[in-house]
Point group: D2
């Protein structure tokens, strides 16, 4: 197996430059045109058969290399409407147009730039070292993971018919953990996610005459506080649920009480019953808080998107853990627990009826965020920025990219190269 | 005095058409270019000496008509960032660029279109009936009343030096009351207003990992609810204070916990001590609620604008009440109490050291909003829309415009035409 | 008139001792047995015809002194379930049994001890100086003012039939203002008050398993915060309303989530429409907040007591102001505005169809509470303790008692002694 | 092993009568005098050496029966300050004096009456069937489990020195699950618990003059709502924490704003770091919410009690699971997960340095609480009342008592009777 990763180290300087370029030019979901162009160009140059515009802005590269298993490797390409803080010279100053038509700042605050970079690196390495493996590789660059729509869009665009069948789907995600480390969770790995838009209707009026109005900002605030009680009071402490209000927008002028307020909610659960209880509680609380204010009209609650549970195939995951441990040593490979984050990657496995495995890799040097008295606790304690934070900029880039490329190659190698398996 | 208002009825159809045009084309504060152009054209045609661009987009028309007193008549021209509901064929579909650079809908939700229309009507009538009065009239069309900046801008632009001195300043504002009715309040009439921007800083992150964040939407919501206690608990019930959060904006994506939230507050008071207590309480609550969440940084609280108290000169106001009562009958003229709304009109009186009087006129046929069982209560009960509401579209336009024109002429007549006084 | 007050100064040492004794032995509403016994004894010794047990624990003393007007003077006797802080040597350590059967601390936290003392002083002086007036005096010591039930109870006990008719009813109340000062408000003086008991039903359970419960403490807390919005958002700033939750009780053990919570509310208004709006809003909020939690049963909202508006007869009040001003000087006599406090005293006037007047007297030396830099502002700024506070212990007792006795005599003298009126 | 349980069925009618008597006469922590007297009498009659007054009201019975292992069996005796609803003829009408000196209702709302009954049944059976086992049995009836103080009190009273050494400590607790079923959790079983008393200081005053006060009921309510955010925002969804406010008491009269409010909190955690984060957050929130109101004095936060983690010895637990499964069948024996409830039982194991195992048994026929359409879901769905609820009265008593006695005998038999083990 080491043959597949030989020489990866020499690619890192180039990949780091690519990464900085992608980081500086993030694009919102389904708007990943510049990224897709770069991806297509490099895959083509490496010798892949490349198809663009799959499911919108998705790119698929296929490399056929004789007999053997077929492996799908997937990276997601989209960024988020977050304003990046000043931290690195290649920080994003990009803007985009959000779903509401607003111009918003854009940032790779979830690190998909590292995913794209690592998969390009792995693809180029696979192309360069055709002699060391046999089979077929699909390099899939997916749009719009952040809104749970990109995998679905590619599959709906004839993915299974248009490209070679595959035996396993593999993917990875960067997290706030030390560069070089890998985290694999056999079985249930990530949460189901439901996003909702809640519009609360009051009655607008002059800021000095609240008695002529029904103040939707007060209703929205009461909803936000009362929603906290779902997790704190209605769900068993040993069950898992997250209810986040990620956006609250109402009014624009200080002396005008607006007529309505809009909240966007995101809900994470691992259990169908818990999910239904949370959704019912959200509905109940939103309606009752509007009623408490005497709102003239019922709130509107509309689904925005929905992610299924992400379940790693246990047998495949154990094979990957074994391969990682052999390749990188026990210190660098960890079994992780379930996480309340969500992913639409699983669709590539379930739609094809094949196993899928998704793992995490670190890219943050915890020492930099550490309590000086307890350096080892820094990352664990959450002192490093989390995904989606405006500070989520990897500070341990080169070790992280190298390990992410090696991880893709090593995991793929489990299927591509029978000789490496005992 | 009746000579001054003779023939006003014949002007109403034309004025109503002008009103509908202004209503359909509202402009935000300091952006009243179209309105100012129309005003300047009609004043010029009527024979006024016209100066434009005073204090930005303000227009001043002067009509000299021999010996006698000099009277300033003022209308404000700006509209609000409110989206008008579908109610009338001439509803606004206009947009403008708000102070934050956002594109926002614009509506004459405070009825300044009626003010402009009525003052044009009064100016044209005064020009047409020069024989019936003597003295000087200043017709002042002010920008940017909504942000408390227009009167100040005109005065700072040399107003007192560039235009004739005046003996009294008069103005009026439409309210949600029956067309034809006038409301005058001798003494303290309107509130001092303070507007503040509050920015709350949390720590952003992934919607599924709130434990890595400090959620600013929760902080902002707690602030909104806790601010309610200032009026309910900290100010005597017999004192007057209003604390409104007119805008709350945080985040844009449901699964990203944002790093900050912005609130815009508007505060109304009639008493300097009460004002200081309210401002101190806002500061205390905002800081403590941020501390309750363990916010990594103190909130920022910055003033947006400030309106002084509006005080009607008692002697001048009584003279106007007497003239209104003689002209329109006791049934149509009311003494009103203080109101928590605010106005920057008073600056024209205080800067010149002359009395000023500001009154209200109605333009809403309460029957249309009424509880069918108690039609007489409709307007009093607040069933008609209040100023700044997206429904604040007068439904009794022609009687209201006629009375508003007559009111300006009658009040001005108190000074312009000594012969009418007993 | 000065004849009536001659010698009052000599009674003050004795009255101050009586006051301290009453202060040290406060009794709850309808439990004023010790107080009534003292009152009856002193009135009898002074020569009054005394009836006890009127409306429970009420005492009525009648002194007939020839021809002339008949004047009712009223003091209330009951204390409150408040624990007095250590401030004076004669502080209360008393306890009583509250309406719920609980043993509670008791304190004269509303100063009714000063009312009883002053009326005893005035009664003894009237008895001692029969030569200086003619007519009839009714000295009425009423129970249970704090629960709005004592005046009603005395009237329902045949008061009007059993005792002489009277031409005017007079009463007074101590406030946190300087000793020696009097405050009279012609017209509407005090608020209507409604008290409600709200019982919220959840579902109890183990503190570690909130998901099996509906937590009534969370519901009650949400109600308390949301009730603040009635005054802050639903009532015009220029109207008057107070909504206070004076008691909130739920649970007793930290690891048992209780099944219910009880709140006691007190509402003050001056306007029947505002009152109805507030009561409707309380009902709406309580029910909606229970619904927000999925409460298994509707809350119960039951009236506890109700006070009517207190309106001072304008003519009678002006006569008293004139008499006070002549007697005590303009500096010591003030016209006051309406107050959101409540009183059941007015029943003695309205039931008999005669005018009634109720005034305030001060008993607090503001200097002691003052900001050293602005001593004159101390009381006005609310630095002295307010009625019902555990610190509401007059610190200017002798001047206050003297003036309170003189005020009763002077006001009564307006009716009892025609010779003193111009 | 079956020899030990032979004849248990014949004891159940007598035990059910004992249970009903105990249920009807519950006693608060450290006040279990009547219960202890009954226990001591029956143990003595059965032939145990009995010691009373151990750690207050604790009772220890020792039965020596030749060579072999020594087993401690423990039941807890205390009840809770909960008012039992009318459900069964033997419902409690008892009252007791709480720690604050209040008279409170008392109920066996945590089912310790079933524990006492089952241990008496097991002890009597062991005494009756001495021929079927050998070794020593300690039957320990502990006071004051609910306040986390009874095990500590018995150990501090010389328990280890005064009574025979033992090889294992066993105990059980009734839960809301079907009668006959047993639930065992090897490893970490129950949470650490911290209880706190929080006293919030405002400034009292008259209900109509909140501006002279700092309203502690508003502060307490804001604290309750804000505390919900600890679990919902500050602790990872995959970590376990519960923050319950079990008691909130402030004021007694509706028109008196009290000077302070008291909250009692209960906190459950499984991880020392999480515990410290929760305790720090409670402290931060309580202080900040007091600051938000301008409280004149810092809140006081004092610990009430503290329970350690309850960890079942894994080897011993597996042996018990095996024995249960053999005796009662796989359908009746379940592996359970960790629970956020807490127990002080573990002290008997840790203090002696021996393994301890604690399990649950059911006593509720879920059918009775069921949705008629889905009877099988009733208990799982939480429709049956939870521990500490005023409805927590087992409705499947005889099957539950029989199985609870059999469980004690079977588990004890693992150590007492080598012949039964393979």
């Amino acid at each position: 197996m080491s043959a597949l990763t030989t020489g990866v180290a020499d690619r890192i300087a180039d990949l780091a430059a690519l990464y900085q370029d992608l980081h500086e030019h993030p694009e919102l979901s389904f708007q990943e045109k510049r990224t897709a162009t770069i991806v297509a160009k490099r895959l083509t140059e490496a010798g892949f058969e490349v198809t663009t515009g799959v499911g919108g802005t998705g790119v698929v590269g296929v490399l056929r290399n004789g007999e053997g298993a077929s492996v799908l490797l997937r990276a997601d390409m989209d960024a988020l409407p977050v304003r990046e803080i000043e931290q690195v010279p290649y920080r994003s100053r990009a803007t985009g147009v959000g779903p509401d038509g607003d111009v918003v700042p854009v940032m790779h605050a979830c690190g998909h730039d590292t995913h794209v970079t690592a998969l390009i690196g792995a693809a180029e390495q696979l192309a360069a070292r055709r002699a060391d493996w046999s089979g077929t590789v699909l390099a899939v660059f997916q749009p719009a993971e952040e809104i749970g729509a990109g995998a679905r869009a590619m599959l709906d665009d004839g993915f299974l018919d248009r490209f070679p069948r595959y035996d396993v789907a593999l993917g990875q995600h960067v997290i706030s953990a030390p560069g070089g480390h890998l985290y694999v969770c056999p079985g249930v790995f990530m949460a189901a996610a439901d996003s909702l838009r809640v519009t609360v209707f009051g009655r607008g009026g002059h800021g000095s005459a609240p008695q002529t109005t029904v103040d939707p900002i007060v209703i929205a605030s009461a909803i936000v506080l009362r929603l906290q009680t779902i997790v704190s009071r209605e769900i068993a402490a040993t069950d898992v649920a997250v209810v986040t209000v990620g956006s609250l927008r109402a009014g624009s002028k200080e002396n005008v009480i607006p007529a309505e307020a809009e909240l966007k909610l995101n809900i994470r659960t691992f259990d169908p019953d818990v999910r239904l209880r949370v959704l019912a509680a959200v509905d109940r609380i939103v309606r009752a808080e509007a009623a408490a204010a005497g709102a003239p009209r019922e709130p509107e609650i509309t689904p925005l998107n929905e992610f299924p549970l992400l379940v790693n195939d246990e047998v495949a995951a154990e094979r990957i853990i074994a391969a990682f441990t052999t390749a990188f040593g026990q210190d660098q490979v960890h079994r992780s627990g379930t996480k309340p984050a969500s992913e639409d990657f699983g669709g590539f496995g379930s739609a094809a009826g094949v196993p899928s495995v998704f793992w995490n890799f670190g890219a943050f040097d915890g020492q930099l965020y550490a309590d000086p008295a307890q350096p080892q606790l820094a990352v664990a304690a959450g002192a490093a920025p989390g995904n989606h934070s405006s500070q989520f900029v990897p500070n341990d880039v080169e070790p992280a990219l190298r390990r992410a490329v090696e991880a893709l190659l090593t995991a793929a190698g489990v299927w591509l190269n029978g000789r490496t398996r005992a």
